[in-house]
Symmetry: C2
Subunit: 475 residues, 2 copies
Amino acid sequence: MDGDLIQNRIISLLINGLEKEGVLRQNNQPEDIIGNLDLSISNEPIESADIVTLIDKIIQNSVNTNDALFMNQMYGKMNQTSIYADILTTFLNTSMYTYEVAPLLTLIEKECIFNLTQHIWGESKGDGVFTPGGSISNMKGLMLARNSRIKNVKVTGLNNASNYRVFISNQAHYSFLKGAVFMGFGSESIVKIKTNNRGQLLTENLLEAIETEKQKGNIPLMLVGVAGTTFSGVFDDLNALSQIALDNDMWYHVDAVYGGSLMFSEREKHKFIGIENADSVSWNLHKIMGIPLICSAFLTKEQGLLNEAFSVDADYLFHDDDKLDLGQKSLQCGRRVDALKLWLAWKHDGNAGFAERIDGLMKSTNLFSEEIKLRNNFELLCDPESPIITFRVLNNSFNEDENNALNKAVRNQIFKEGEILFNFSEYKGRIYLRCVISDPNLGLDQIYDIINRIEAAASEQTLNKAYQKEAENVQ
Amino acid sequence: MDGDLIQNRIISLLINGLEKEGVLRQNNQPEDIIGNLDLSISNEPIESADIVTLIDKIIQNSVNTNDALFMNQMYGKMNQTSIYADILTTFLNTSMYTYEVAPLLTLIEKECIFNLTQHIWGESKGDGVFTPGGSISNMKGLMLARNSRIKNVKVTGLNNASNYRVFISNQAHYSFLKGAVFMGFGSESIVKIKTNNRGQLLTENLLEAIETEKQKGNIPLMLVGVAGTTFSGVFDDLNALSQIALDNDMWYHVDAVYGGSLMFSEREKHKFIGIENADSVSWNLHKIMGIPLICSAFLTKEQGLLNEAFSVDADYLFHDDDKLDLGQKSLQCGRRVDALKLWLAWKHDGNAGFAERIDGLMKSTNLFSEEIKLRNNFELLCDPESPIITFRVLNNSFNEDENNALNKAVRNQIFKEGEILFNFSEYKGRIYLRCVISDPNLGLDQIYDIINRIEAAASEQTLNKAYQKEAENVQ
């Protein structure tokens, strides 16, 4: 049958994966892609064979994020069981709002939330819900902060938004700013605190900023601690921050969107001291754990706050006995099932398997950073605290601007070669390269290869630059 | 290999679907499910064979939303190509924030947005982005309304939220209330306007309410027109509302989350007269079109507003040349690819295939409603305007309360039988049954069968009720 052609193509995808060898990415600009593929919708149907051709082209023109050398973002190498569970999720095609249409899936989400909260608050029972990502999880934190501190705000709204202040480090994720704007607090409500050389919030500066704001008549509303910054993967002093939040009657939210999964490993758990004092925590499982996007949990210490914040009357959906309906904890109405892919992977691997992934990632990360330290023409920002290595190539005869240009040029060259993908970012005026390890089996050979290629690109770019300078001098 | 067991199970899912015959749902309470399946996570890994057993149990304990007799919610029977595209999405596992990691997928999302906006605004180019659902799409409408009408709100926030008013019908979706609360306007900002017997907003009442609010010194901010209400699937007078919005300098948002897809059919397009004046539109493709959850578009008439509203500086993600980065239009950071499953289905079926689905759904819907009209003991709320039939069983010797109890009892009985699933809701003090047609091939035999079963259940329940009454009299 005609339709079976597509089915067969998808079965081969299941068995063989994307089948992209070596090249992570075809460095295609829009004009290249459009020249090779008709994006437009025609009036009449097209044949299944043409759909199969399209599937091949889609794969060709996409990034293989499942490759160990994809180190550009905080997600990557997927958990295999989780892929299967995500396919099952598609077939079950239901929404997480009522128990009625998602009976077992509701219990599975609750079981996942229970297990995650245990890692944070231990025996005391927390609460939570899956959200469409870390940004919205962080916004939910701000929502609960607001509801807990501003009387009657659900009814009358914000009538003096410009008085409230949310304290975050300048390395905290941009979703706090986005959320403050979306939720009507305005960007002025965000107070960004300086960080040390690694990217950790400076508590003395925080204390000063709180005092300054109080003197201006502003009200400290929420303090954010970051467990794994986006740039360098470092941890704020979660314990010290929890005390400061308490002293100043602020809601304490921990953004563990990236680093949270390190809690699965006994070796890494010490980095989270103080998280047990958090009022709310964001934790994405689609990052370090390799669950397919999106799998993000928002967790609270106290039960019932989410229901208080989000529940509404909607007779066409929620009926009398709605205690089991997760829709009353959620910003969305219809919601994809994001818990099943976590739960089935977790069932399969057990706690031990989850810990093993973390330990594997940290082992590879440390091997990588140790190798960077050994090389003269590299500079490591700091010892990694999560699976991110932040470093730069360094030519001592260059000034700061030249070294920045060199690092950008190196990243650009390797990006164009298309076999390794990592990112770059600026910190305190310097451009750093940033490799996120997502494959727990990334071996020493691969690590040497990555670093050697960066070194080679740096030499090549330095040479180019030297020629460029000569050229400039001649002119 | 051990791991292949799970793979084989998933391949059989691909080939045979859920393989649930007849029964849509096992009416399992939590205690039944837990007795039959261990939800807890163990410390050590478990075997793949056990995962296969779990997959079977998950299917057993889930609703088969892909069955024609699943009429409980506004989603259902899936487009087959779209299922395959969703599996491909899982394998591509990337995020829609930057062109860099989603080159072709970014172009595909833009192509979908372009095609959707064409249906609304014709040749003039609109803008848009996919969101995690209709609720968040509606909230984005409120965000843009706010930004367009309240000076400097992105910076200083809401300092007189209690003055703003959002006008919606009392049949509009609860997400407007949820959004107003989340975004700091407060529930008091929502003014609910009465509806006629079908569920359509009464414009005379709207005009009155606007005057009243103005006299109180409040500011009309946004007017919502609904294209397909959740309860009865009816359309507000989108054209009349667009004029009222214009006259009162309000942002005009059309919630076409459910009904939007009717625009694909030339026969249905007339219902949307006036939508071309909307400033923003929400439109879910995972409902009527059978794209797997979630596939929701938020669309704007004017280009650039989304970027103005949502863009932020985040050097670790967005670099200099970010014109192609969809992340700057979005509330989220990481975002699942929701466009591919729409695009591949649309490519395959063409505009003609999409129109055919709509015409099939409306044909079945009209056959259903005509049959309801023919039967004495049924009352149709109104002629359907989208694929929802809202009706009740009616016993003329019963009073209102008794008829309400009867309809609830009928729904309850059929729910428990587990072969047909439809919902119920209260409107103007009466309980109605509500069947949403999602399978464009639902035939007359099936329709007769559904209605006959409802009729039989009504007889049975009436009898029970009579016995009950007798019993009461005896006591």
